[in-house]
């Protein structure tokens, strides 16, 4: 087990290093002068040279990369070209909004997936199953930006139930926070919920076909208890993996949903950084996304072993 964890940690570190190289390379390839873009046309040559110097942009590329990565390891992600704030403070500032949206969306996804997936697995090829399959297909296919706009049109515009955009911090105004969160969370949660529905269905189906379930039924256990103790418990295992991937995806800033609802999260931060050629901000944000992705995957794999005693990581990959 320890060996496995170590190997996975090393692998994740290697991928993270690759991501850092990739993101750095992308930024080198983006045409245009970031300092010029940040200062505008009115800056004096002295200010321009000073900012270039301070940002280390005149150093060789390899030196720039090594500087950046060693500081990043110490938690220093540099300073935004645009605002002059430190990248870490920008990220920390945006984190609550992204966390709120991710948690809200995963709750929505679970509320869709668990009942719908379980019901359709319990009655395969029934109208319920058919409805669930179609709903999850639709949820997967609906463009989130369109759904968001339609929600704004109907629930913010016509009905006026929810605000159409913006974010209120939880600690400032919990009611306003929830109120603002509803539409974006549903918009972001539907596609994850649709993916999860299919996994709940297939893992419940698989769990139902196992011998111990048949035995439990045969010895007269109540259907509800069989479902709870034997089916759902076992179905949890594969579900955790996909759920984890979905959570990682939601945490990496749902760019489009944040864009539609003017949600001040990490997705918007990264998107704006691309448009502004704000290298340090984009590098920091993407590195964080990749880190989240890898950590979530690692945790999921380890959780897997805890939930399913048959899996051991003693040997093999």
């Amino acid at each position: 087990m320890t060996g496995y964890v170590l190997r996975r940690l090393l692998q994740s570190a290697a991928v993270l290093l690759g991501v850092s190289v990739l993101v750095f390379a992308i930024m080198q390839l983006v045409p245009g002068d970031p300092v010029r873009a940040a200062l505008g046309t009115r800056a004096t040559p002295e200010t321009y040279a000073a900012l270039r110097e301070r940002s280390g942009l005149d150093d060789p590329v390899l030196v720039q990369y090594l500087d950046w990565i060693t500081s990043a390891l110490r938690g220093d992600l540099g300073v935004s070209f645009r605002s002059g704030e430190t990248v870490s403070s920008l990220i920390v500032e945006r984190l609550p909004a992204t966390l709120s949206l991710a948690v809200g969306a995963i709750v929505v996804a679970l509320l869709i997936a668990v009942p719908l997936g379980t019901l359709s697995a319990l009655r395969p090829r029934s109208p319920v199953d058919w409805f669930s399959t179609l709903t999850s297909q639709a949820g997967l296919s609906i463009p989130d930006f369109w759904m968001g706009i339609m929600f704004i049109l109907i629930f913010a515009g016509t009905l006026g139930w929810f605000p159409s955009a913006g974010y209120t911090p939880l600690l400032e105004d919990p009611v306003g926070w929830a109120h603002h969160l509803v539409l974006p969370a549903i918009t972001a949660g539907v596609s994850s919920g649709s993916i999860l529905t299919r996994f709940v269905r297939s893992s419940v189906l698989e769990a139902m076909g196992q011998d111990h379930v048949r035995t439990a039924r045969a010895k007269g256990m109540r259907a509800r208890d069989v479902l709870r103790w034997h089916i759902l418990r076992n179905a949890l295992v594969p579900f955790v993996t996909v759920g984890g991937v979905q959570l990682a995806y939601l945490l990496s800033g749902v760019v489009i949903v944040e864009f539609v609802f003017a949600w001040p999260g990490l997705g918007q931060l990264a998107f704006q950084a691309v448009l502004d050629r704000d290298y340090p901000v984009l590098q920091g944000a993407v590195l964080l996304f990749a880190l989240v992705f890898l950590v979530v995957n690692l945790v999921v794999d380890l959780l897997y072993a805890r939930l399913d005693p048959r899996i051991s990581y003693g040997s093999g990959r």
Partner: protein, 306 residues
């Protein structure tokens, strides 16, 4: 067809129809597949014939007709420049399909090649290629596409490349997994010991056996590529005006939600239906191309069809 009839006289043996004909027959028996086939036919027809069948010019502004609600003259209404939304939705089909098809073509070619190399040669080739794929995969997909567009510049051609890069790893992974499972099969080893070269083995024995999951992935990827193009155009990085693109139309419509709901509703519905059709088709294909499911489907078909 004649092969099928002959086979019917021999009830105990399976009909010797070519595999793809049988696949089509199974697809035609699925209402879901037929429905999505119809939708896709309509979309392709719109893409090919938009110039001839659209009732109005999709690009030319007509100030007198600004922001008109749907009517007999303008089925989907008009936009803020007086252009007919229906004609623009028809023309948008062409952009969406072209970007989707080229993008998936890129990921298919690159991904299958990478997957074949990694799965067939294993060792360091596998390690290097698949770790690179992991890195691309660890990048949030849309952000990756946005970053690629930041390098290459905006526009639909670059959007194809960006989307193509983003969806390459998934093809590589699927191909590699399938190759790993067939490369140790007896017939592959037999071909190798008979002196067949790598290229021949891959072309004759490995590729045909990995096509099923790749076909399924292609259909599903077309759905996601069309969604991605719409999303990129929606944030202003994909197709540029005045070309009508569904995503672009949606972002224009967003500014007129209160006055002209139709500007946002119809292009979005077009994206939704097209993507849904590709997804449903991919799903049915997955069942039809899976040998176990296939046998079951043929069984039920025999029972009911006679």
């Amino acid at each position: 067809m004649s092969a099928g009839e002959r086979a019917d006289t021999l009830p105990s043996t399976a009909p010797h129809r070519p595999r793809w004909v049988e696949t089509l027959v199974l697809l035609a028996r699925s209402p879901m597949a037929v429905a999505s086939g119809l939708v896709l036919t309509a979309v392709v027809a719109a893409a090919l014939l938009a110039g001839r069948i659209s009732p109005h010019d999709p690009v030319e502004p007509s100030v007198d007709d600004r922001l008109q609600a749907p009517s007999g003259e303008h089925w989907f209404g008009t936009d803020e420049l007086g252009r007919d939304v229906f004609s623009r939705v028809l023309a948008g089909a062409e952009v969406s399909l072209r970007v989707g098809a080229v993008a998936v073509g890129i990921s298919l070619a690159a991904g299958v090649l990478i997957g074949l190399l990694a799965g067939y040669y294993r060792r360091w080739v596998d390690d290097v290629l698949m770790r690179v794929m992991d890195v691309v995969f660890a990048f949030p997909a849309l952000l990756m596409a946005i970053a690629v567009l930041a390098i290459l510049g905006r526009g639909s051609t670059n959007a194809m490349i960006a989307i193509g890069i983003v969806y390459t790893p998934i093809f590589a992974r699927i191909t590699r997994a399938s190759v790993l499972s067939v490369r140790e099969e007896v017939y592959v080893r037999a071909a190798r010991s008979a002196g067949a070269g790598d290229v021949r083995i891959v072309a004759r024995h490995v590729l045909p056996n990995v096509t099923a999951p790749i076909i399924v992935q292609t259909s599903v990827s077309l759905a996601f590529a069309i969604l991605s193009e719409a999303a990129l155009s929606f944030v202003g990085l994909g197709t540029q005006p005045p070309d009508p693109s569904w995503g672009r139309m949606l972002s224009e419509g967003r500014g007129f939600l209160e006055q002209a709901w139709w500007m946002a509703v119809f292009p979005g519905a077009a994206i939704f239906l097209t993507v849904l059709a590709f997804n449903v088709l991919g799903d049915v294909l997955r069942d039809v191309l899976d040998p176990r499911q296939r046998a079951a489907m043929k069984g039920t078909a025999k029972g009911s069809g006679g």
